[in-house]
Symmetry: C2
Subunit: 382 residues, 2 copies
Amino acid sequence: MKCEPMPADFQFRLLATDGAARCGEIATPHGTIATPAFMPVGTQATVKGVLPEAVRATGADIILGNTYHLMLRPGPERIAALGGLHRFMQWPHPILTDSGGFQVMSLSGLRQVEERGVTFRSHLDGALFELTPERAVEIQLLLGSDIAMQLDECVKLPAPPAELERAMRLSLRWAERSKRAFASAPSGRALFGIVQGGDDPALRLTSAAALIAMDFQGYAIGGLAVGEAPEVMLKTIEVVAPALPADRPRYLMGVGTPTDLIEAVARGVDMFDCVMPTRNGRHGLAFTRRGPVALKNARHAEDPRPLDEESSCLAARDYSRAYLHHLVKAGEMLGAILLTLVNLSYYQELMAGARAAIASGRFVEFRRETMASWEAGDIPPR
Amino acid sequence: MKCEPMPADFQFRLLATDGAARCGEIATPHGTIATPAFMPVGTQATVKGVLPEAVRATGADIILGNTYHLMLRPGPERIAALGGLHRFMQWPHPILTDSGGFQVMSLSGLRQVEERGVTFRSHLDGALFELTPERAVEIQLLLGSDIAMQLDECVKLPAPPAELERAMRLSLRWAERSKRAFASAPSGRALFGIVQGGDDPALRLTSAAALIAMDFQGYAIGGLAVGEAPEVMLKTIEVVAPALPADRPRYLMGVGTPTDLIEAVARGVDMFDCVMPTRNGRHGLAFTRRGPVALKNARHAEDPRPLDEESSCLAARDYSRAYLHHLVKAGEMLGAILLTLVNLSYYQELMAGARAAIASGRFVEFRRETMASWEAGDIPPR
């Protein structure tokens, strides 16, 4: 997995494949990302509850910032005046920003999608905003992210085929406009296109082909983990991933559980983001190599053992289950903090394991052993 | 301020005096405490929002644990079975525990004070508890704190003299019972008596003399910061401190603002605890060498400057006021975390400054300069 220093410009290098699984490296102006990569979500210019150096210490190479939230508060112009998002939040490593489209659909009120863009009311104060493909790019350039995303329309599943096709075609037209707007971007930054088309393989392939013809620096699979069954998600990845160029990174947006990640890596996905490790950590659920562990459960109340005595994460290794249980029951911030660290570390450990396995041609075994360990479950109560 | 290694048993050594101000060292089984010392409050076995190593990094030698909260949840027997409070919360340094008396008065429902002790209902679930002097000591021995406090009755001011005297005399009888109960404590641990008597100098002196006759290892001044004017607090300290033996530490309970601390140090106090730095940090208020700064204020919204460019605390030095403002406005945990770190660091910096000044005989100048800096106020908006 060693390699020469890479240039500051955006560049993806495939280092190894193992079946459909891939490992590689993405160079960006703010550093290199080992793939498959999991990106912790830093919605409001912070990964909730964790200092940036602690996020880095979990092994994260890159985090995700949310255009929707940042455009409402504190505003992209203000962040730009303060030196950009990296400096604002003291995260000097790579950042990917989404386009805001997904959150407009899921969080805002009174939204109206038109050819020109989407108008919506802020979930904070009801103020009216407009997000066009051009404005979404402009915001992301103001934020200064290393990887920007095109504006797209994401449709909840299940949805009628005509609705899926309409949104997919609109997203393609927005992709073209996003790309034109991004032409003025400073050197080194990248824009990704987003494959849409819901659970319809033909629509997905049409979307992928059209985006590839536009030549993006990376391709995302959007519109998944929006209500469909897990099999539908995996089947869609199986359709889309092989249709994407091997020399560009592939990013599955908003996914997912540890199982989702491993299954998607097995199908050729390189990048992920999800609030699961952070949100679940705040609610007392730990992800571990023995599967999820609900710390609120009374069986931990007197248990002096750590969550995982072999973890490299101090929060998983040095604190007793009894203490974590106490913190969660007492509603203490430190419970949320420690479990967020546990989960972010575990997600990174999982990705590091996948990368090493792919590099040495034993991803099948890694996947089998990892899943067997989850299925064997947590250590029994004492 | 350098000194030889000290024994593991409790021992106080006065290193220097400057006027009535003192600096010294307290040796305990878990390490040495430089005095004057500020103890961050770790109510529910955690200093809210901060990892123990981060608390330590602010310069804290010792923290305070609350007997009332820990007796209700998770229970002292459970903490003892898990190896004691130090191990439970991963804080290997000194811990002082209060006796629970103050919180019983301020938090619990339906309390009844009798000669035997106090019965009360838990503020969590209404369960009935009894706290006697013997049980308060037993709980603190189970927790394993380095310094334990006698059970006392703390009266809100203003209060009629007869009521102050009744509570003071009851507290003295409880002090005797506490001391007897503490006779079985493992070697090295210390028990402090608590001077009561409200704002009545004669009662205070009676209380102090009686406690000194019982020979405690340290003496606390209780029943202050409970509604009285600041002058009353300082006058009471001026009465009590000189009546206490010079070779024992003096602890002013539950105090206070940075000004309170400096004024109390000037009057011979060695130890403090208070929720002000942590609670205010969670509510967006920073304590700095230029006085308190409310980060919610819109004047910080576009300010790229840190809270204090000369601070040794990264949270005060590396993050812009604009970012802290954003986090506080957005209700992000990281805002609470960073400002808690800022405040704990500033309180420790203040104590370190006082210690150095006393050691070099320039406490008067230190006090004047420190207060002048607070009064000059925060840097003006750009």
